[in-house]
Subunit: 389 residues, 2 copies
């Protein structure tokens, strides 16, 4: 299976002069990687970012942000490795051509392909966006299985060929359990390096609090999304702050906080699909950039961010061995630590336990994909969030 | 016609709690515009950017770039005013919600509507992206008429309500002649302030030269696109430079320069549509950002950029009173001056004359929309570039 499906973007461009153009591009990359250009000699080592679902709409926003330096800064050259399917290979070529036409000086290489064992090679970051969306009449258990197989396969590929310190962000839904499957299939990589994206939920929660309180977005801090990226997610208004003050001191409307706020955040994606006719690709891409930036820049003093991480030794008594969104901080080195001293009350804890129960049920449902025996699927209500195409 | 079609984005969000949310948003904007936030008191005056076709794919990339500060910098607050159609109003609400969820600190207001007399009010920039794409069997003359009417209407609206120094960038095709129609219908605004976007062509030309020469994109300078944004466009390899040297000294393959290069640039959009299944929205958005940035930042010493501008007193003998892409420089104040001393040879001039003839024919074809009598449509071959949805 390891083979020649990856092609330099050059092969794809040039309107029919594929062969010569491909060779030329090869040369160009060679020159570039050897630092032929004086200006780049002092630059940082190329960062390899692999993206699955690269022909989809989220990626169509995300790739241009990555190439423009939004995550890693204006002195960090980048290589993009784009994973698609047989069906999307032509579209991937189109994406690669558009990236070329955008003249991003930081973008040194674009490669495309359909084999994760090629595209994930030496990946410093793997952004796993591609997943089968849920068709009409598809049971949630069936979708867990279908997508789980994709992430099991990609976990194995990462385990085999990625950088030994690759950071993995799983976006394709159900992302927490997909991340769990992925890390279980990559035993030689640190489980700590796998994330499930809950940053869009965090951003949406901050937005709603800012609107309700009538303050700027950046006055909201310490916003945690606990649990599963599903409708059981728990936006934490007990610990969040507005202008440095507890939310409950600023927003006195407890009913709004306990009911409307949470529902609005949980349902935001569905409302958007209704209005916009497709899912929220642009703001998802923004939140992926935010999530990555939170890992490569130091977290502001006293603040934190949310990310779905592998539970092992958490101080809150949340079940071990699942992927659960929690408050984290980073020194900006790509790594993170759990924030261990946030407050808990019965209301918050009750909700967290529901999301935990759901994740444990999802885990039992994919046991055949994590090497833990036979699957037993007994999921609570249907809580999955609208998927991305 | 001036009325209440514009709505604060807040009206659109909040999943059903429209009324209260809308009022709240109104308050929020009020607070913001009064500089309630200490940090913003020293900030620049809000810049108003109106965008037509705001629910389309180009805008879906562009709006997030504008909101993130890519054009005007990280100290410039921005208001986005989004023009759509009855049909796209729901989608516009979705876009506004996604912009909210992205928590851009520079984005102070988002308004949406279907009346250009409302949405263009006090516009400092008008980015006219919306145009009817060409359906099967539609004659080019018919499309010129249909889209021309849109741009005549929008020119009148700009004339009535926009900032007296509004900068207008026409993207909707055929963009040169649409820009001409627009400026003719806005007699109280400086004709000099109207642009037709040829920056994507310039970027594509730079990309092809960089690939051919095996150098970084940013080693290509002095790239002019002359003429019409159509297949008669003239990418100028006589004056362009690679590493400061004339292209012809670096690329000895004259046949490639005279034939393949130009054709590749002209046809790039069509090839992309074939591969990608839709038009090149992301790279078009990048090129709009580039075009705007070229007007608000000083042009590097000795370099220039291409933009379609109103011809009046140009030193090259190009026909007056059309919109023609030419080499320009800017002091970074939003204004520009023509570069007046570029070399010309028979090959270049011959091609320029063909593009000029086409634009003069297009102009005769829309005389009824520019107030210059009866239209007479006798267009040369069909040279229009693939349109954007």
């Amino acid at each position: 299976r390891r083979g020649s499906q990856a092609a330099g973007a050059g092969d794809a461009s040039g309107g029919g002069r594929g062969g010569a153009q491909g060779m030329l591009r090869g040369l160009l990359h060679h020159l570039r990687s050897r630092g032929e250009d004086e200006k780049t000699k002092s630059w940082k080592k190329l960062v390899n970012v692999s993206v699955s679902g690269a022909a989809g709409m989220i990626s169509n926003h995300l790739l241009f942000k990555l190439a423009s330096g939004e995550v890693f800064g204006q002195d960090q050259p980048i290589a993009l490795k784009l994973l698609g399917s047989e069906r999307s290979l032509q579209a991937l070529e189109g994406v690669a051509m558009e990236l070329e036409d955008s003249l991003y000086p930081l973008l040194r290489e674009v490669s495309i392909g359909i084999d994760p064992y090629v595209i994930f090679e030496d990946a410093d970051w793997a952004l796993l966006i591609g997943a089968k969306p849920r068709g009409p009449g598809v049971e949630r258990a069936a979708l867990l299985d279908i997508n789980g197989q994709i992430f099991a396969e990609q976990g194995k590929a990462l385990n085999a060929v990625a950088s030994r310190n690759v950071k993995v962000i799983v976006v394709g839904n159900p992302c927490n359990t997909n991340a769990l499957i992925c890390l279980k299939n990559a035993p030689n990589l640190p489980a700590k390096n796998f994330h499930a994206l809950t940053r869009l939920d965090e951003n949406r929660a901050k937005c709603q609090l800012a609107l309700k309180a009538g303050v700027f977005y950046d006055k909201i801090s310490n916003m945690t999304i606990w649990g599963n990226h599903s409708t059981t997610q728990v936006p934490d208004f007990l610990n969040a702050k507005i202008n440095g003050r507890p939310v409950k001191e600023v927003i006195k409307d407890t009913k709004w906080l306990e009911e409307d706020f949470t529902i609005t955040v949980q349902k935001r994606g569905g409302v958007l699909i209704q209005k916009w006719g497709r899912s929220s690709a642009a703001s998802t891409a923004v939140s992926i950039v935010d999530a990555m930036r939170s890992l490569v820049t130091p977290t502001p003093e006293g603040d934190w961010f949310s990310t779905g991480v592998y539970t092992t030794g958490n101080p809150y008594g949340i079940a071990e061995d699942i992927v659960f969104s929690m408050p984290c901080r980073s020194k900006g080195d790509g790594d993170y630590e759990l924030v261990k001293d946030v407050a808990m009350d019965d209301f918050l804890w009750g909700r967290i336990k529901k999301s935990e129960a759901e994740l444990i049920a999802e885990k039992r449902c994919v046991a055949h994909l994590t090497g833990e025996g036979n699957a037993f699927c007994d999921l609570p209500g249907d809580t999955m969030l609208p998927g991305e195409m």
